[in-house]
């Protein structure tokens, strides 16, 4: 099961503004553990504050 409590997860779902049934929320809660793992992995090791994203906007030359 995910580390996020079901209560906190339900708050995330409300924030998404999607209309989901209790059964759907339950199904997504089971899968949320995979996302938690990816989020944690992606932050390990922490990047330096100045590390830039891969997409930095470059204005077109006129």
């Amino acid at each position: 099961m995910p580390d996020t409590t079901l209560e906190d997860f339900t708050a995330l779902v409300r924030r998404s503004r999607l209309t989901l049934t209790d059964a759907q929320v339950g199904e997504l809660y089971k899968a949320w553990g995979y996302v938690e793992g990816m989020l944690a992995r992606n932050r390990t090791p922490l990047l330096a504050r100045e590390d830039e994203p891969a997409l930095i906007f470059k204005p077109r030359e006129s």
């Binding site: 997860f9 998404s16 899968a31 949320w32 995979y34 996302v35 932050r43 994203p53 891969a54």
Partner: protein, 466 residues
């Protein structure tokens, strides 16, 4: 005429007027009629259009004014490629009845090359939700064993090429959707460098991860298709602006001195593959050594790092595309697409940016690891195709993906059949090249295919009965 021809073989026969494009198209249509009630690789067969295209090609053949090697060659498009006047549904009720006014750029380019349009091919819903059994059309089935998965999301393309229903087809690859069906259906599929082929007119999944490319029986055939598909397009903001070199000219069969880096930890520890897949990779290494290539082990960041980064980016970008439909007509999605998009909606903007920051670091690490080599050799799939009913909704997240690293980095990668497993289903390897070095990649894949016998094995189609 042989029962199965490659595009290259057919092109030579057509050019010498020993094969009629109309006859070739009729053979494909007859095979579609016989086998597709079981394989479900097509959403829509455009028989009249196909014969019209074929007759036009035949007229050019008789007049000595052929457009090139693809003139008269029957192909089909993944049903996320917009086709003017022809329904384009993304295999979803959300787009049932949707008829675009204009062709996607790549559709137009392949038509200008003289290809014959056989129809629109099955895909996972919006190139992400599948295999699904609750959509308006059934999922495609694997011609090697129709109880088994084709891989996805270019599922119809993989199945149709393997069964000889089409001679080549288009796919898209956001996390592996060309290479997965190529691997599991035993065909060849290349995801080119990001920006090489225009995405204009192709229904998006994830803007920075979507790649456009071909599937066909051989690397040689992929080279012919890619030649027509590649090139600058101002209608695609991500277009690299690069013209394609002559890919066919690169297929010399010579890989002497080519430096191949085996990413052994990907398939031996990060995500262990089946014995037949492992053996296929080891045999391929020996084939390349026998051809004079220099093969060594290289180390990249862990597969799970690329997977985490790639899936987070893919899911958030996909939700941005589907947000409005998820709010207004979610009931029109199949369960898999709907639930995956709902899960994606919960990932924050900060999470996305962290993944995009990680992406730059992974691109740099991959480029550094590739500095002493020309291409990488890895697994493409963990094993043979599973039974289609056994493919789970969240299976894509359960184990790290072999294919998504090269969507994260945007470099080209190709899936090549390396043999068959104990169940008689294909196994495959993946070769990845440096950005815009498709010619080197295709040369390696082609050399391997010339040196091995796997391209002589076609699915046992006589066993497929409606």
């Amino acid at each position: 005429m042989d029962e199965f021809l490659t595009i290259a073989d057919a092109a030579r026969l057509i050019a010498s007027r020993k094969l009629s494009p109309v006859e070739l198209t009729r053979q494909c249509l007859a095979r579609i009629q016989r086998l597709d009630p079981v394989l479900h690789s097509f959403i829509l067969v455009t028989g009249e259009r196909a014969l019209s295209d074929a007759r036009a090609a035949q007229a050019r053949m008789m007049a000595g004014s052929m457009r090139g090697p693809l003139d008269g060659i029957p192909i089909a498009h993944k049903d996320i490629y917009c086709t003017a006047g022809i329904a384009t549904t993304a295999h979803s009720r959300q787009l049932q009845g949707h008829v675009p006014a204009a062709d996607a750029t790549v559709v137009r380019k392949l038509a200008q090359a003289g290809t014959v349009l056989l129809g629109k091919l099955a895909t996972h819903e919006f190139a992400f939700g599948g295999p699904s059994f609750d959509l308006a059309w059934p999922p495609a089935r694997n011609p090697w064993n129709p109880e088994h998965f084709t891989g996805g999301s270019s599922s119809g393309t993989g199945a149709a090429v393997a069964a000889g229903l089409i001679m080549g087809g288009t796919g898209s690859d956001t996390g592996g959707s060309i290479r997965s069906p190529a691997a599991l259906c035993g065909v060849t599929g290349i995801k080119p460098t990001y920006g090489l082929c225009s995405r204009a007119g192709v229904i998006p999944l994830a803007f920075t991860m979507d790649h456009i490319g071909p599937l066909a029986w051989t690397a040689e055939d992929c080279a012919l298709l890619l030649q027509a598909m590649a090139g600058p397009d101002p209608a695609d903001p991500a277009s690299s602006g690069r013209n394609a070199p002559d890919y066919s000219a690169a297929l010399t069969g010579d890989v002497k001195g080519m430096r191949i880096g085996v990413v052994r930890h990907f398939h031996e520890s990060d995500h262990k593959v089946s014995e037949s897949t492992r053996q296929g990779i080891e045999t391929a290494i020996e084939v390349f050594r026998g051809l004079g290539a220099e093969v060594r082990d290289v180390e990249l960041p862990p597969l799970a790092d690329y997977s985490a980064c790639g899936w987070l980016i893919l899911m958030v970008e996909a939700f941005a595309v589907h947000e409005r439909w998820m709010q207004t007509s979610a009931e029109k999605y199949g369960e898999i697409m709907r639930d995956r998009m709902a899960l994606a909606s919960l990932i924050s903007g900060a999470d996305y940016i962290q993944a995009v920051r990680r992406r730059r670091a992974l691109c740099a690490a991959t480029a550094a690891a590739m500095d002493p080599v020309d291409i990488l050799l890895t697994a493409s799939q963990p094993g043979e195709a599973p039974r289609i009913e056994a493919v789970s909704k969240w299976g894509i997240l359960e184990q790290p993906s072999f294919t998504i690293p090269f969507n994260v980095t945007g470099q080209p990668a190709i899936a090549v059949c390396t043999g068959f497993g104990a169940g008689g289903l294909p196994v495959s390897m993946q070769l990845a090249g440096k950005p815009f070095q498709e010619a080197t990649l295709l040369r390696a894949a082609d050399a391997f295919q010339r040196a091995t016998q796997w391209r002589q094995h076609r699915p046992p189609l006589a066993a497929i009965k409606a």
